[in-house]
């Protein structure tokens, strides 16, 4: 099998897995949306486990994003509530390496089950996202700040955090 074919087969397997077991809408072989597929929060750990078993063995990254509340265009329109999104990326190793990524949407106050039992590399990544964005990871063995000092207030990568927040006495 050439690397390109290997990659295509992986993509096919990923689509089937998502559609048959994790409730993603669409035909089994139809292409996934360009901006990544959204998975329900309850399926997050199961999906990671299934992918790990099926050959996506390399933990690549996770990225949390903050979406502040957006008021409607007209006064009568409903406000879009504040929410968070956590994207996870895994990879297969060897020729034709395939990237699997999915997103989980979280409301304010909701926490995401941790991936540390599946991939130990999720430990620092989740700590970093907790530190900078403020997403809580449920069941994480050691959820502390990674980048900022322990006594820092706020989560800098939130959209409503001012970039030039002063910090006495140093700035």
């Amino acid at each position: 099998m050439t690397p390109a074919e290997e990659n295509a087969a992986r993509e096919q397997a990923f689509r089937r897995l998502l559609r048959e077991r994790f409730g993603v809408e669409g035909e089994a072989d139809a292409p996934l949306p360009d901006d990544g597929v959204v998975v329900d929060r309850a399926h997050h750990v199961d999906l990671a486990k299934a992918l790990h078993k099926a050959g996506w063995q390399l933990y690549v990254t996770c990225a949390a994003t903050h979406f502040p509340a957006v008021p409607g265009k007209k006064p009568t329109d409903a406000t879009t509530p504040e929410c968070f999104e956590v994207a996870t990326v895994l990879r297969t190793v060897g020729p034709g390496s395939h990237t699997a990524r999915w997103r989980v949407k979280l409301a304010v106050g909701e926490s995401l089950p941790t991936l540390v039992p599946v991939f130990v590399g999720a430990d620092w990544q989740e700590r970093e996202q907790f530190d900078l964005v403020g997403v809580h990871f449920e069941g994480h063995p050691d959820l502390r700040r990674l980048m900022m000092p322990e006594d820092w207030e706020g989560h800098p990568l939130r959209r409503d955090y001012a970039i030039d927040t002063p910090h006495a006495p140093w700035r």
Binding site: M148, Y161, I163, T165, P166, A168, P169, W170, R171
Partner: protein, 234 residues
């Protein structure tokens, strides 16, 4: 947070020995020259290398430029060093450590701010975690602009420092280095301390905190009155 320059002494045990013996004090000028010559040609460097400038510092210490020929060798401990070269961005988390290492260096000591991050924070200046220049924490003798400065520029900075040491030891006045500021078209969001347009409460809080840290702070200028806003007068 100004730092008192006059507190930085030049006491040396040799002076005390010389003072005890009558007649020997005649020789102090010669000994002074000897010490100055020694001080100038054995400036051991403590590299406070945090980021990119640290690599250029290593390049300066390596074979092509070779700082060793000026007698400047690199030491890993502050207790054996005379010059601290702050090479790289200093963050809020790192600044107390830099201050502590500076306090551990024996007098007389000198500081070189290498690169625009150490001088003013560069484009990280307005970011929540970066301090706007190392001179808010420790006094700086020589500024070397660049991002990062070439090894040759670091060498030129070392030569400038030697001139400064000469003048200082001879008891002569040396013009203070001016901090090279990047010309900015846009006013920075975070103003320097005691700037006219700054919130006075933040100034006061910062000065209070600085005093509680027992930094050598003396004679702060009085807080300037904020410019009266036109809208309120009418």
């Amino acid at each position: 947070m100004a730092v008192n320059e006059s507190e930085r002494s030049f006491q040396h045990p040799l002076y005390e020995v010389l003072e005890r013996f009558p007649g020997l004090d005649l020789a102090t000028t010669q000994v002074d020259k000897l010490l100055t010559w020694g001080a100038n040609n054995s400036q051991w460097i403590f590299p406070m290398a945090t980021s990119c400038c640290g690599i250029e510092f290593m390049a300066a210490a390596a074979s092509l430029v070779d700082l060793d020929r000026m007698g400047s060798i690199t030491r890993g401990t502050p207790r054996q060093s005379d010059v601290m070269v702050v090479a790289g961005t200093i963050t809020v988390k790192m600044a107390p450590r830099v201050k502590r290492l500076w306090d551990q260096m024996p007098e007389p000591k000198w500081c070189i701010a290498m690169g625009s991050c150490a001088i003013s924070g560069d484009f990280y200046r307005d970011i929540y975690s970066v301090i706007p220049g190392i001179d808010v924490a420790i006094p700086v003798d020589v500024y070397i602009p660049g991002c990062p400065p070439n090894p040759e520029q670091l060498m030129a900075g070392m030569l400038r420092l030697q001139e400064k040491v000469n003048l200082k030891r001879a008891g002569l006045w040396s013009p203070p280095e001016t901090r090279p500021e990047t010309p900015k078209t846009i006013e920075p969001a975070i103003k320097r301390l005691l700037h006219q347009g700054r919130d006075r409460r933040i100034d006061a809080a910062q000065i209070d905190q600085a005093l509680s840290l027992e930094l050598p702070v003396v004679d702060l200028p009085p807080l300037p009155e904020p410019a009266p806003e036109k809208g309120e007068d009418e």
